[in-house]
Symmetry: C2
Subunit: 344 residues, 2 copies
DNA sequence: CACTACTGTGCATACGTATTCAGTGAATGA
DNA sequence: TCATTCACTGAATACGTATGCACAGTAGTG
């Protein structure tokens, strides 16, 4: 079954009447070999359908030409569910890897695993890309260890001063600002906020910063009683909105830190016979594919996943090459749809 | 930067006062080494945070412990778009790989590439899993070559007699039957069908077979004038529905070969001031995440992606081990929601 | 003509592991 | 006591590639 007798560089050497090292050089277009020899060798290689054995090459070169994309989860996370935002990142990361000449290893990880040992030490990958919403404080501890080990890795997440490791993320403050600013410009003055403000999720906290900033610029006071906690996910949004409703406080709009929360909130509003957007305007965050298709379509903040994937891959490649790289924020963009009431 | 001085089995050998082969054996729990030596070696390995170098191991063992998941596209495909159904498969495939002890390499492929050379010949992967809607006739030609080369691969797709290679797919005939049967039971007699019936997409053609079968069982004649072509994607569904509408033929329901087509069709119906489901009932196929969230929520045929991922991985692993594997159909399930009008 | 520079090639070797084979000492059996 | 088996270990080697080094031949320089 397995005896496919794959040709090796030595086979080519015999056929071409040269030595194995010459074959190796010729195939890599080394200027050390004469044009004549090079062409002959390459032709034979093509005829034999020869491919360099990556294991041998990697062993010799002590590198892997591979990047590992790791989606991590809280240890108690729902194993079947992948955050739709990460899925859209996946596509662009995959393409960026391909054009950078790297293979992509894909896996889910538990927060408790030893990532460095598993991938870089085992020479499975030259660098790592992490995606994950989870407990930030816990995650940072792991990261710090990785960083100390000299691993090459980049995380999609919040950019915070003095944190260990390299982070690429969207400008959450700007995103939160865009959403709130849009509602304020539309005349809303009492805008509820549904999101997680604990230190576990600094990204979401930054969106709240943007919410504050917009209020400040518009000279509108914040109503603390309109802030409700919701980690992520539809159910959380549903519950948070119910809490908001039962609090009896007045509001005309809701800003959410994720589309899933917004979707849950809309369901809760509907269940209470409130209409979106005529009674309450709603904005989300992420622009997951569903956002455009629900009814009313969801006004939300779009993160540039295409650019994000590119930057993530470029960053980790630079790290691998030993270049120094800085954390980076990517701009966000407001997608105005029906749920905020400013568009038909 | 790179001088991390990873420990090798030889380092452990020195520390343990044994030879390198003994370390290799001890770490693999070989019965050849005494319990005493084994424990000592394993302890030292743990202390040093030692990990076997997979490149060296693979080179020696001439295997890779890796499966490649390849999503292929027509050469002119939209590079940024991944079929949402494949994304849901991705999750279960990833987990199945992990529990089978394989790493997963992920990549997009053009139909014109030489997959065998790229992966198996280069010793990047022991086996391949293909996902893709595309030109089946063209694909089969490539597959035939792969098969002749003795590659280990499995495709998610239609199960057809005497085709080369190994296919795992859902029971499309059954799925198409379930959808049409449900509409017929609800009293619909003129049910339009939107899908691609060319030989390029046998999976979709099978769904049509199920549609026919249901009509036959119910003793309802097919109305050929209600069959319209739509390859996939929302726009195609939109256009096909417009064609259907402008044909002026009577109909009370539409069966679609994909959720995206159904979504496009619903938009077209709306644009023509027809209401779903009160004027026209619609059913889709795939149960992509959006299906549940649109309004009205979409009645559709669910494929068991969890089981599918597991079976795909199990199959390719069996192939790698040299066992013979048969193509297999997985059952489908009707998800009754609002768009068919039988549920509030 | 002698010396240097340069071009192209091959030799030897290393990457880290897993396996074949041979060998040691101890235990067993007669 | 000697032959035989057994349990364990180490020496040697191969997997296929890439690179430092030496070397041959040719061209260039004065």
């Amino acid at each position: 079954m397995k005896d496919k007798n794959k040709p090796t560089s030595l086979d080519i050497a015999h056929l071409a009447g040269v030595s194995q090292p010459t074959v190796s050089r010729a195939l890599r277009d080394s200027p050390l070999v004469s044009k004549e020899t090079r062409l002959k060798v390459q032709e034979i290689a093509r005829d034999l359908n020869y491919k360099v054995d990556v294991n041998a090459r990697n062993l010799r070169a002590q590198s892997t030409n591979t990047i590992a994309l790791l989606i991590f989860e809280d240890d108690d996370g729902d194993a079947a569910f992948i955050n739709p935002f990460f899925l859209s990142l996946l596509g662009s990361i995959t393409r960026a890897c391909a054009s950078a000449g790297y293979d992509l290893l894909f896996s889910f990880q538990q927060l408790s695993q030893d990532w460095n040992a598993e991938y870089e030490d085992a020479n499975k990958a030259d660098g790592l890309i992490f995606l994950g919403y989870g407990d930030y404080t816990n995650y940072i501890k792991r990261i710090a260890k990785l960083d100390a080990q000299g691993a090459h890795f980049v995380t999609w997440g919040p950019v915070i001063k003095n944190q260990p490791g390299l982070f690429i993320g969207c400008d959450n403050v700007q995103g939160g600002f865009l959403a709130a600013d849009h509602l304020l410009k539309a005349g809303h003055r009492r805008i509820a906020f549904l999101g997680d403000l604990s230190e576990k999720n600094p990204e979401l906290e930054k969106r709240y910063q943007g919410y504050l900033k917009a209020h400040k610029e518009h000279g509108v006071a914040i109503s603390k009683e309109l802030i409700f906690s919701a980690t992520s996910g539809e159910e959380q949004g549903y519950k948070a909105a119910l809490n908001l409703l039962s609090s009896q406080h007045q509001f005309t709009a809701i800003a959410c830190t994720s589309d899933l929360i917004a979707i849950g909130a809309i369901k809760a509003l509907r269940a209470s016979n409130l209409r979106v957007p005529s009674d309450v305007a709603v904005v989300g965050f992420d622009d997951i594919p569903i956002a455009e298709h629900i009814s009313p379509s969801l006004t939300t903040v779009q993160q540039d996943t295409y650019e994000a994937g590119k930057v993530l891959v470029d960053s980790v490649v630079s790290l691998i090459k030993g270049q120094s790289v800085n954390s980076k924020l990517l701009p966000t963009r407001l997608m105005v749809r029906e749920s905020c009431g400013t568009k038909k």
